[in-house]
Amino acid sequence: MTLSVALGPDTRESTQTGTVVSADSLTAPDVPWNLVIWNDPVNLMSYVSFVFRSYFGYSETKADKLMMEVHKKGRSIVAHGSKEQVEQHAVAMHGYGLWATVEKATSGGKDGTSGKGKGKRG
């Protein structure tokens, strides 16, 4: 993203809990999906944060934290839900011009990975 506003240094990584997903729940129809936003050098940091606030209704603090995670780590999981829900979010994000993808939450919700599910697959 393009830096437009100076932000404080306290942008700790998100604490997406690394829940251990059992093999059973991976095959269940309600297996959670993640909405991932990817970094790009074009979108303004202010704009990305604004989109998180106005579309998801996130607080300024949460929106900024997620935005900084995208910027620094290259990607961030910004929402969870059923496949249909995150797909709907992804289209909305594409409408805003953000680079969004969906993925099955098989890597235990851990972020900052290459996006490929490690270990067990659903």
Binding site: D40, P41, V42, Y47, F50, E60, E87, V91, W99, T101
Partner: protein, 192 residues
């Protein structure tokens, strides 16, 4: 010289010179032309009406692909299937925002409602995404390099001209987003 968008009693207001309006009109029209779905002879009219496009393919143009990205990182087949259901309406939504912003340029008074502002911000963002592809901005260092180009008297070739246009649209979008954030902050409780 354009003035930054600002949020005040009348809402979000801005000011653009005729030449700047002309430039933006051209940019919005260029992106609309890139996004317009091609008409096919044997297109099922009902499918088109409800936004389905079973013939759709992943765009070959890099800029169009950035505007309409795959929904799954490593699954081309599933992404294509999703495209069939969603790409047409995504294109139409983007075209709608670009056209609305363009229409707003016809009025002398550049006062934006919340909806206008949303159209403007996505339209400017899409323009910037396209310009960035043409300028080959791949990473933050490329973006920095382009950002250095600020002096219109230096515009000697297409690339430097595009860089200046990119920087102008970046500045304009940034000022608009700041005004939108200001507007959001002064309306507690409203989510969208």
């Amino acid at each position: 010289m354009a003035k930054a968008f600002k949020y005040g009693l009348k809402g979000i207001t801005g000011y653009l010179e005729p030449a700047e309006r002309e430039l933006l009109r051209g940019l919005f029209a260029d992106v609309v032309a890139m996004l317009e779905p091609e008409e096919r002879e044997n297109q099922d009219p009902l499918s088109a009406l409800i936004g389905l496009d079973m013939e759709v393919k992943e765009p070959t143009d890099r800029a169009v692909r950035r505007l309409l990205p795959n929904v799954m990182k490593d699954d081309g087949a599933a992404s294509l299937e999703f495209r069939q259901l969603t790409e047409r309406s995504l294109r139409e939504g983007k075209i709608g925002a670009l056209r609305a912003a363009s229409l707003g340029l016809d009025k002398d008074d550049l006062t934006l409602t919340e909806t206008d502002a949303r159209h403007w911000s996505t339209a400017l963002n899409d323009v910037r995404l396209v310009l960035a592809e043409r300028l080959d901005i791949q990473d933050e260092a490329d973006a920095e390099h382009v950002h250095l180009m600020q002096d219109w008297s230096q515009a000697e070739d297409v690339e430097s001209y595009l860089a200046l246009v990119y920087n102008f649209t970046t500045w304009l979008q940034e000022s608009l987003v700041q005004a939108m954030v200001h507007s959001l902050d002064t309306q507690p409780g409203t989510r969208r």
